[in-house]
C-alpha cells in the first residue's frame, strides 16, 4: 500500500467476562489478536459465521466498546488517546450503518430531524438545503415529499437509504457497515448495494463491510478478511480469496454458499464440515478450526498457526495450507 491507511487495527483483542464476581464461566474471547489496514477508497469485507467476532471488531472501531488490548488508529490518530474535542472532530469522519434500519432510526423523529442532527452537532446552521441534498443523493426524490415523514412510514429499503444519508452527512472517510443489507429482500438489497457503490466512487469513502453473505462480498469488496472464532484465518485481494482460497475454512465456507445455478450446484465439489462452530468461551486448543477441519493433523491441535504471508498480500493462518486444495469449491 503506497498511501497511508485510513484505518489500522493493530493486535486487537476483546474479551467479555460473563457472570458475577464468583462466576466460573470462562471469559469469551470474541476477538483474538486481529490486525488489518484499510486504504482510502477501499472496501474491506470482514466475513465469517456467527460468533466469529466480526461485529465486535466493528463495535470496537466505532468506540461502542473498549478493546481489551490493541489499538485502532483512524486517519493517523489513536482514538483512545485523543482528548474529547479532538475525538469528536475525528469521529465525524467515521460513521456506521447497522443491519436493522428499524432500530437505528429514532421512531419519534421526522426525517428532517434525523438528517439534520449531524449538522447541528457539528455546529452547521444552514442545514435545510443540505438535508434535502442528502435525500436526493440517496434517491429519495423529490425530497420535500419525504422530509416531514417518520421512519414507520417507510419500507425497510427506504429506511436503509435514510440511514445511509445520515452516515454521509459529514463527508465520512470510513463507514462501518454491519450486515447492512442482510434484512432486505433480494431486489431491495441490490438497490442499496448499487447506491453504496456509487457513493464510494463519488466520495472515495472506505467501507468496512461486515457480512456473512459471500455473494454480496465478491462484488462489493476489494479485499476480504476471513474470521473464525475470533481469529483472522486469511486476508487478501477479493479475487485471490475467491479463486484461490488458501485456508481450509475459507474453502468450506465458499463451497457451502449456494449459488443460483442448479447445474453448478450439482457438479461443484462440496466440502461439508463436521459438527457445529465451537463455543468461543472454550475455543479448541492449537488451531481453533482443527475440530472441523478436513485436513487436520496432530500438530494442529498442539500449536496455533500464525498468519503468514503466502504471497506478499495474501497471508494465511494454517500449518498445512499447501495441502488444502485451492480449487476445491469450483
Amino acid at each position: 500500500m503506497t498511501t497511508a491507511p485510513i484505518l489500522s487495527v493493530e493486535s486487537l483483542t476483546k474479551t467479555y467476562r460473563s457472570g458475577g464476581l464468583f462466576s466460573t464461566t470462562p471469559p469469551v474471547q470474541a476477538v483474538a489478536g486481529v490486525s488489518f489496514d484499510i486504504a482510502p477508497g477501499e472496501t474491506l469485507a470482514l466475513v465469517g459465521e456467527s460468533g466469529c467476532g466480526k461485529s465486535t471488531i466493528g463495535r470496537v472501531i466505532m468506540n461502542l466498546t473498549d478493546p481489551t488490548s490493541g489499538h485502532v488508529v483512524f486517519d493517523g490518530s489513536d482514538l483512545a488517546t485523543l482528548d474529547a474535542k479532538a475525538a469528536l472532530e475525528t469521529k465525524t469522519h467515521l460513521q456506521m450503518i447497522f443491519q436493522d434500519p428499524f432500530g437505528s432510526l429514532n421512531p419519534r423523529k421526522t426525517v428532517r430531524q434525523i438528517l439534520s442532527q449531524p449538522f447541528r452537532v457539528a455546529g452547521i446552521s444552514n442545514w435545510e438545503p443540505r438535508v434535502l441534498d442528502l435525500l436526493r443523493v440517496v434517491g429519495m426524490t423529490p425530497p420535500e415529499r419525504f422530509v416531514n415523514r417518520m421512519p414507520h412510514e417507510f419500507s425497510g429499503g427506504q429506511r436503509q437509504r435514510i440511514a445511509i444519508a445520515r452516515a454521509f452527512a459529514l463527508q465520512p472517510k470510513l463507514i462501518v457497515a454491519d450486515e447492512c443489507v442482510s434484512a432486505l429482500d433480494v431486489s431491495v438489497r441490490a438497490q442499496i448495494l448499487k447506491l453504496m457503490k456509487r457513493l464510494q466512487q463519488e466520495t472515495q469513502v472506505s467501507y468496512l463491510f461486515i457480512s456473512h453473505d459471500l455473494g454480496v462480498v465478491r462484488s462489493m469488496a476489494h479485499r476480504v478478511a476471513v474470521m473464525y472464532l475470533g481469529r483472522l484465518v486469511e486476508i487478501g485481494p477479493v479475487e485471490q480469496i475467491f479463486n484461490a482460497p488458501a485456508h481450509p475454512y475459507t474453502q468450506a465456507l465458499l463451497s457451502a454458499s449456494p449459488v443460483p445455478d442448479p447445474e453448478r450446484e450439482r457438479t461443484k465439489r462440496r466440502i461439508i464440515l463436521r459438527g457445529d462452530i465451537p463455543s468461543p468461551s472454550r475455543p479448541p486448543s492449537g488451531c481453533r478450526f482443527h475440530t472441523r477441519c478436513p485436513i487436520a493433523r496432530p500438530l494442529c491441535s498442539e500449536r496455533e498457526p500464525i498468519l503468514e504471508a503466502r504471497s506478499a498480500d495474501h497471508p494465511v493462518a494454517c500449518h498445512f495450507s499447501d495441502l488444502a486444495k485451492a480449487d476445491a469449491w469450483t
Binding site: 459465521e49 456467527s50 419500507s155 429499503g157 429482500d185 433480494v186 431486489s187 431491495v188 438489497r189 441490490a190 438497490q191 448495494l193 448499487k194 457503490k197 456473512h212 453473505d213 459471500l214 455473494g215 454480496v216 462480498v217 465478491r218 462484488s219 462489493m220 477479493v238 479475487e239 475467491f242 468450506a252 465456507l253 465458499l254 463451497s255 457451502a256 454458499s257 449456494p258 449459488v259 443460483p260 445455478d261 442448479p262 447445474e263 453448478r264 450446484e265 462440496r270 461439508i272 464440515l273 459438527g275 457445529d276 462452530i277 469450483t330
Partner: protein
C-alpha cells in the same frame, strides 16, 4: 411429473385488517408429485408462507380467512375436513419444519418428550417402543450420541442441532409430505449446507415429497426439482429448476435472478429492479408487477395476465413474456 400427491387449485386467502382487506393469496395453484422436491420462492409479503398456512388449515382466524380453492391431498380436499380430522393429518401424513426451532420446541420439555408427544398422538406404540423410535430418529438425522441428547433440553443444543430435532419430529410418523418454511434461514452457511444435504437424503430415503418455502434462490438451485415463483400473492411463474434458472420467462423472475450477487462471479456493475412491491390492500387492476416492469405495455395496466401453460410443468403469468 410423478403421480400427484398434493394439488392446490385456485386458493384464495385474505386478511381482514383495520386498513382494509389484504389479498394475501390470490388464485394460487400448486402441484407436488410423489417423491418430488418443489420450491415456492418469493420476497417478503409475496404470500408464500400464507399459502402454506392455508394448505395446512393454520391461517389464524380472525383476521385471516381462506375464501376459496381446493387443497387435494391424496384424493381428499383438506378444506372439507373437520378440525379433528385435520389434526390427524398434520404431523401424521404431513410433517412441518419451521424457520425458528426455538418457537416450535417447548423449552421446559426434554427432546425425548417433545418427539414422543408426536408419536403418542399419532401412533399406537408402547413407551419402550416410543423411546427406541426416538433414539432411532435422532440417529437418522445424524445427531451424535443420541442416548445422551434425548435427555437434554432445547437450550442445551446449538441452532443446527435444534433444526435436526425439528426434522426428526417432522419425519417421526413417516409422513408422505414434508413442508419446510425457510428451514435454514436462521443458520450459518456451513450448517445450512449440512441441513439441506440431510433433508434431501431423508426425503429420498423415505420416498416422501418436500415443499420448500424460501426466499433464497441459491437454496432453490441446490435443492429443488421444480419451482413456483410468487409475487404479490400470485404465482407468476412455474418451471423445472434448470429451466427456471436458464431461461426465466417472467420479467420479475428475470429481474430477481439478475439482481442476485453470486459468490462465483464478481460484478462491477450491479443490477437492481427499481421500485417496490405493491400494497396488497389496493391490488392494481392490471398486472401487480406493472410499475417495475421494463416490458409493460398498455394492456398490463388494465387487465391482469392469465396463466399461459407452456408445458405440463411450466407456465407463466405475463402478457409480454419471451418464449
Amino acid at each position: 411429473m410423478a403421480e400427484a400427491l398434493l394439488v392446490v387449485e385456485g386458493l384464495n386467502t385474505v386478511l381482514n385488517t383495520s386498513e382494509g382487506t389484504v389479498r394475501a393469496v390470490t388464485d394460487v395453484s400448486v402441484e407436488i408429485g410423489k417423491g418430488e422436491i418443489v420450491g415456492i420462492v418469493g420476497e417478503s409479503g409475496c404470500g408464500k408462507s400464507m399459502t402454506v398456512m392455508s394448505i395446512m388449515g393454520l391461517v389464524p382466524s380472525p383476521p385471516g380467512e381462506v375464501t376459496g380453492g381446493r387443497v387435494m391431498f391424496d384424493g381428499t380436499d383438506l378444506r372439507t375436513l373437520s378440525g379433528a380430522e385435520m389434526q390427524k393429518t398434520r404431523g401424521r401424513r404431513i410433517g412441518m419444519i419451521f424457520q425458528d426451532p426455538m418457537t416450535f420446541l417447548n423449552p421446559v420439555l426434554t427432546i425425548e418428550s417433545q418427539i414422543s408427544e408426536m408419536l403418542r398422538h399419532h401412533l399406537n406404540l408402547t413407551k419402550a417402543e416410543r423411546r427406541e423410535r426416538v433414539i432411532d430418529l435422532l440417529r437418522r438425522v445424524r445427531i451424535p450420541d443420541p442416548a445422551r441428547v434425548v435427555a437434554s433440553y432445547p437450550h442445551q443444543l446449538s441452532g443446527g442441532m435444534r433444526q435436526r430435532i425439528l426434522i426428526a419430529t417432522a419425519i417421526s410418523c413417516d409422513p408422505e409430505l414434508i413442508i419446510a418454511d425457510e428451514p435454514t434461514t436462521a443458520l450459518d452457511v456451513t450448517v445450512q449446507a449440512q441441513i439441506l444435504e440431510l433433508l434431501k437424503e431423508i426425503i429420498h430415503d423415505m420416498g416422501s415429497s418436500l415443499l420448500l418455502i424460501t426466499h433464497d434462490l441459491g437454496v432453490v438451485a441446490e435443492t429443488c426439482d421444480r419451482v413456483y415463483v410468487m409475487y404479490a400473492g400470485k404465482v407468476v411463474e412455474e418451471a423445472p429448476v434448470d429451466e427456471l434458472f436458464r431461461t426465466p420467462k417472467h420479467p420479475y423472475t428475470q429481474g430477481l435472478l439478475a439482481s442476485i450477487l453470486r459468490a462465483d462471479e464478481r460484478r462491477d456493475e450491479l443490477y437492481a429492479l427499481d421500485g417496490t412491491v405493491p400494497n396488497l390492500v389496493d391490488v392494481p387492476v392490471g398486472c401487480a408487477f406493472v410499475d417495475r416492469c421494463a416490458k409493460a405495455t398498455a394492456i398490463c395496466e388494465t387487465a391482469g395476465p392469465g396463466w399461459t401453460r407452456n408445458s405440463d410443468v411450466s407456465g407463466v403469468a405475463c402478457w409480454n413474456y419471451e418464449t
